[in-house]
């Protein structure tokens, strides 16, 4: 194995989390930093000609190459897991920028009580309020502590929106249920697609509190504190699964990469597939020594480093610890071990698909232009008659619909799936159909976890990651509660026909849910049940930090990127202000 000269820091993964850490450390210190990204190199100018639905949105050109590595799935520990052979329920990206390139750029914050879910819920409703077998944990941090970092994230991204709670003062038209904001959004709300406008008026008429969706596809030109300027969104509609052709969407390649490329102390190596984190266990105080990776030519390389940041997606962060033998794998039978525990996804459903008489012009929009309401989110529900806990938000977004993916969605009354009758109906409903979405919290359970698969291997011969995951009663009942609420709104919007969500059955990897899978290396208040501290520092190996959704103890209803980035800022500050001066566990 080739051994390279040691560097100060190696960062595994060149997506939002890894590149933000590289930018912060690179800009504010003279540390030598190497970022290892296993996918191809990329820059925002690549997207000038990517508006091709087939290659990008259907064949999924920007996603991970599953022929090299996928995950296996089973619903419970008695079953044999099988590989997810094609993309479906979630879409992890590959290449510089990771999933932050092809995302929709929806950027709500988590609700304040999400961070103290165990403590607040038991305090209010008693120890039996959470479902049997839950593994819900507190994060070890409060919203108030995180708020300044959220604000830095909004400034980095130039987030468009309207505040609903400015330093405790509730503001009509914003999300009055959100956590307090120290500052207003950097840019005003985006324009509103027609379908979303219908939703806003209907929601208001039913007494709800609709507000413009927080969006990192920005409403107008903006220059961020790093001096990166970009123009406003043109509502071309090519966001999800595409890079932005005008650069209005916040992406690591337009906000972070240009700064990193100017820094001589940061180098980004693409096609570098990290396989192991090496531990120096000889000393009485164990640390990590660096990582091994396979480069584009197939050569195995050891990159020594004084600091290691794991910043890949949830799956790979967890898998790297398991493959490297770092920490004790979680065992649901005994409850021992922490690595791989608290696997969660999100209760994201098409609560009501509505069919209208009038055209909706659905090709115009953006991944995050739209209207939401949060009257049933978090703990803002009357629980007295409900048989589940927590909630979610409702959304009418004007994603910008393209015809391969959208053609053929029909009212349940039409049974034909091909031929003249089907075609006629599908043509007529094509631009008259839209969906009210619901996105709800997913609790952690003792039976949902990740470990190494005993059968299936990746292209290099290492075991695949195995997911054990299913829906349980709390999620099913939440979806059952949300569906009639969405149908009622669709009716108030004047829909001619409505398909309600048919209900959550077994976890279905073929239905796109969200690319928000969390857990596996969670943060927490104690090494007994978590892998990292709230500074995302490994409890036993103080020079190892883990960034990203793998550190979330359970999932909120909101999209996770701003929360991931807020934690990266906080960890970067702690490393530079304190760790570098006194390497060791951060108190």
């Amino acid at each position: 194995m080739k051994k390279l000269p040691a560097v100060d820091a190696v960062i595994v993964g060149g997506g939002w989390a890894g590149l933000l850490m590289a930018k912060e450390l690179g800009q504010r210190t003279s540390l030598s930093i190497v970022v290892l990204e296993r996918g191809p190199s990329r820059q925002s100018s690549d997207y000038a000609t990517d508006m091709d639905e087939l290659d990008y949105a259907i064949r999924l050109r920007m996603m991970q190459d599953l022929s090299k590595e996928t995950v296996t799935l089973r619903h419970d520990a008695t079953q044999r897991a099988l590989p997810l052979r094609q993309h479906g329920g979630f879409l992890p990206g590959a290449g510089v920028g990771g999933s932050g390139e092809h995302w929709n750029a929806q950027v709500p914050r988590f609700l304040p009580d999400c961070f103290q879910l165990l403590g607040k819920t038991t305090e209010k409703y008693g120890a039996n309020a959470l479902p049997e077998g839950h593994a819900v944990r507190d994060w070890g941090i409060t919203y108030d502590e995180l708020e300044p970092y959220y604000t830095r994230v909004d400034k980095l991204l130039g987030t468009s929106g309207q505040a609903g709670n400015l330093r405790g003062k509730l503001i009509d038209g914003g999300n009055i249920f959100e956590g307090w904001r120290s500052e207003d959004y950097p840019t005003p709300p985006t324009k509103v697609p027609y379908f979303s406008a219908l939703f806003r008026d209907a929601a208001k008429s039913l007494g709800y509190h609709p507000y413009p969706a927080p969006s990192a596809n920005i409403s107008r030109a903006y220059s961020n504190p790093d001096g990166i300027s970009r123009g406003g969104c043109t509502y071309c509609g090519f966001c999800a699964r595409f890079g932005c052709m005008v650069g209005a969407k916040a992406q690591p390649t337009n906000l972070l990469l240009p700064i990193i490329q100017k820094r001589k102390n940061v180098s980004l190596r693409t096609r570098g597939w990290v396989r192991r984190v090496l531990v120096d266990s000889a000393s009485s105080k164990p640390t990590v020594r660096g990582v091994t990776y396979v480069d584009g030519t197939g050569e195995e390389i050891f990159q020594p480093a004084s600091l290691v940041f794991l910043a890949s997606w949830t799956f790979n962060n967890t898998r790297l610890l398991l493959l490297s033998g770092i920490g004790e794998p979680y065992d649901p039978a005994t409850g021992r071990g922490t690595v791989g525990s608290n696997l969660t996804h999100q209760v994201t459903v098409s609560a009501a698909t509505a069919f209208f008489d009038q055209p909706l012009n659905r090709f115009m929009g953006s991944g995050s232009a739209g209207i939401l309401f949060s009257d049933f989110d978090g703990d803002d529900l009357d629980r007295s008659s409900l048989n589940f806990i927590r909630g979610g938000y409702f959304a009418a977004r004007g994603y910008g619909f393209q015809p391969i993916g959208s053609f053929g969605v029909l009212p349940n009354s039409i049974k034909a799936t091909w031929g003249s009758e089907w075609k006629k109906a599908a043509v007529s409903f094509y631009d008259r159909t839209a969906t009210i979405g619901f996105s709800g919290e997913h609790l952690a359970y003792k039976t949902h976890f990740m470990d190494l698969d005993p059968t299936y291997k990746d292209a290099l011969g290492d075991p695949l990651l195995r997911l054990t995951l299913d829906w349980r009663d709390n999620e099913r009942k939440m979806a059952e509660f949300a569906t009639p609420k969405a149908v009622e709104v669709a009716r108030a919007m004047g829909a001619r026909e409505i398909n309600p969500f048919p209900g959550l059955r077994s976890y279905d990897s073929t239905r796109y849910n969200s690319t928000h899978i969390q857990g596996g290396t969670i943060m927490g208040t104690s090494p007994d049940h978590s892998v990292v501290s709230p500074y995302l520092q490994h409890w036993q190996l103080p020079n190892l930090f883990i960034l990203g959704g793998s550190t979330f103890p359970q999932n909120a209803s909101a999209n996770p990127t701003p929360t991931i980035l807020a934690f990266v800022y906080r960890t970067a500050d702690a490393v530079m202000d304190r760790y570098l001066k006194h390497p060791g566990s951060l108190p």
Partner: protein
């Protein structure tokens, strides 16, 4: 209103395909699909309000080099795709869009050989929620599935529908149905949606650089800008993934 571009473009496109195919087919046994003017995309032309105009055939038949199918297979796929997405009073269908040519090119490319799918054994039966678990690639699924449709292209439409109903629950049929929709609505650079007939059918304008001035202006009213393909909209020579080696 007859949109002239709609007539010229599929023909031009097919000549381009032909030129490319000559190079590609040098190394293998050549199969060609001969398209008479009566089956070509340019014959039925649809205006934006979906009124059909029938043009007189003026062009000689075109021989298209196939990349994957034999000529008979291509004729069967073309016939089956036009029963799934027929050309009828509600507008043009798979025949005008060139769906069979699209599918042929897709199967010859990375998609057809499962370049990006996890294909390591063991292959096991699984509940539907774990997705397709088979070892067969799209190419193999088509080749095998087409065996059950021998002589299909020679049948009357009613008999064709009956034959398709019989295979409706197969993976081959669901792939054929999905690929037909793709060939109807993909960017023309992939060989389907010839003359952008699919986009005109549903009022999709293709990749428009900006809807900034229109998005809040057309509430409740149809806004139907003239479609433009990715190559037209960007002026760039975009290379489809199926042409990559």
């Amino acid at each position: 209103m007859i949109r002239r571009r709609s007539v010229a473009e599929p023909l031009l496109r097919m000549y381009r395909v032909f030129a490319l195919s000559v190079t590609l087919s040098r190394m293998r046994r050549r199969h060609f699909l001969t398209l008479s003017a009566a089956t070509l995309g340019g014959v039925l032309v649809y205006s934006l309000d979906r009124k059909a105009s029938l043009l007189t055939a003026q062009h000689k038949p075109i021989r298209l080099a196939l990349r994957f199918f034999t000529e008979t297979e291509a004729l069967i796929v073309a016939a089956a795709a036009s029963r799934i997405f027929p050309s009828d009073e509600s507008g043009p269908g798979a025949r005008e869009a060139g769906v069979a040519i699209f599918i042929d090119r897709q199967l010859a490319g990375s998609y057809g050989r499962d370049r990006f799918r996890y294909t390591q054994p063991p292959f096991e039966d699984a509940p539907r929620e774990l997705g397709y678990q088979g070892s067969a690639t799209p190419r193999q699924i088509y080749r095998e599935g087409l065996k059950a449709l021998q002589g299909f292209h020679l049948l009357a439409p009613a008999a064709q529908d009956e034959a398709l109903h019989e295979i409706e629950s197969t993976i081959f049929f669901s792939l054929l149905r999905q690929n037909t929709i793709e060939g109807m609505f993909c960017d023309p650079l992939h060989g389907g949606n010839a003359g952008m007939v699919g986009w005109q059918l549903v009022g999709f304008p293709g990749p428009r650089m900006s809807n900034f001035d229109e998005i809040e202006k057309y509430y409740g009213k149809a806004f139907r800008p003239k479609p433009a393909s990715l190559r037209q909209a960007t002026g760039a020579k975009v290379r489809p993934s199926e042409d990559e080696q």
